[in-house]
Symmetry: C2
Subunit: 150 residues, 2 copies
């Protein structure tokens, strides 16, 4: 929903900005939710956020760039782990406040825990139960860090 | 990311609340992003939001209930159109701020525009291009309304 959130002022702020980049209903933080779905398997790998710059870079490079809310900077997915996401298709929803990215997940690991998908916990009988294995030790994914990112 | 958002105080506020309901990292609005994915086809149908009450009702009834940010009330998906979503599985992501619902979409139409999925616009050559047909006239989905909901 746009919820009356103003976009950039027509004219100055939009000068030179591609019209497709203004069609998403950027929220009051300038963000849109982005769902990365694995092409082929259809598996939902992760949900993250994009701002205009992240979306523009994603389209320009063909690889997923998000906006990290915790780090308050562009997050080039796989910049440390190498597990980039090659984007095959971008889809916008009816009210413009969410994107789906159809991606090829390099390395087959989207999650910082070393699992294929970030959605590895299933609700079963009143508990969130881990339903898929760690494919690679997170310490090996982020060798430059004392502790893996969260 | 939890981003340090405090949960309810342990003890009093959590008394009687199921622990699985406290494990999502509810944001400062008390919400979590929820992705509805069609079981079988794997198609991402929509992205919406849930609060604790919506998630609890979803689990209790087996049908998707969301929180409508625009209407500021519980939104029992399909309450007007009949296009309910029967939930087969709920999945929580690594940092607890997003859910995936594996659903059976009653009527095969998730979108208020009468399309199968809300993600019907594809970015092609710098334009968002409608990529799937209207299966049912929205006016027929919401007969009690002068104009269909947005």
């Amino acid at each position: 929903m746009t919820d009356g959130v103003p976009g950039p002022a027509a004219g100055i702020a939009s000068a030179g900005v591609a019209s497709w980049l203004e069609q998403p209903a950027w929220d009051e933080r300038g963000l849109i939710a982005a769902v990365a779905q694995e092409a082929g398997s259809g598996r939902v790998l992760m949900v993250a956020w994009m701002n205009r710059e992240a979306l523009a870079e994603t389209v320009r490079t063909g690889f997923a760039t998000y906006w990290s809310r915790s780090r308050q900077r562009l997050w080039r997915k796989g910049e440390e782990s190498g597990h980039r996401q090659q984007v095959q298709l971008l889809q916008l929803d009816c009210d413009g406040d969410a994107l789906v990215l159809q991606v090829v997940q390099v390395g087959g690991i989207a999650c910082h825990t070393g699992r294929h998908s970030c959605f590895f916990r299933n609700l079963q009988a009143g508990e969130w139960v881990v339903g898929e294995p760690v494919l690679r030790d997170p310490a090996a994914l982020y060798p430059s860090r004392a502790t893996p990112p969260v």
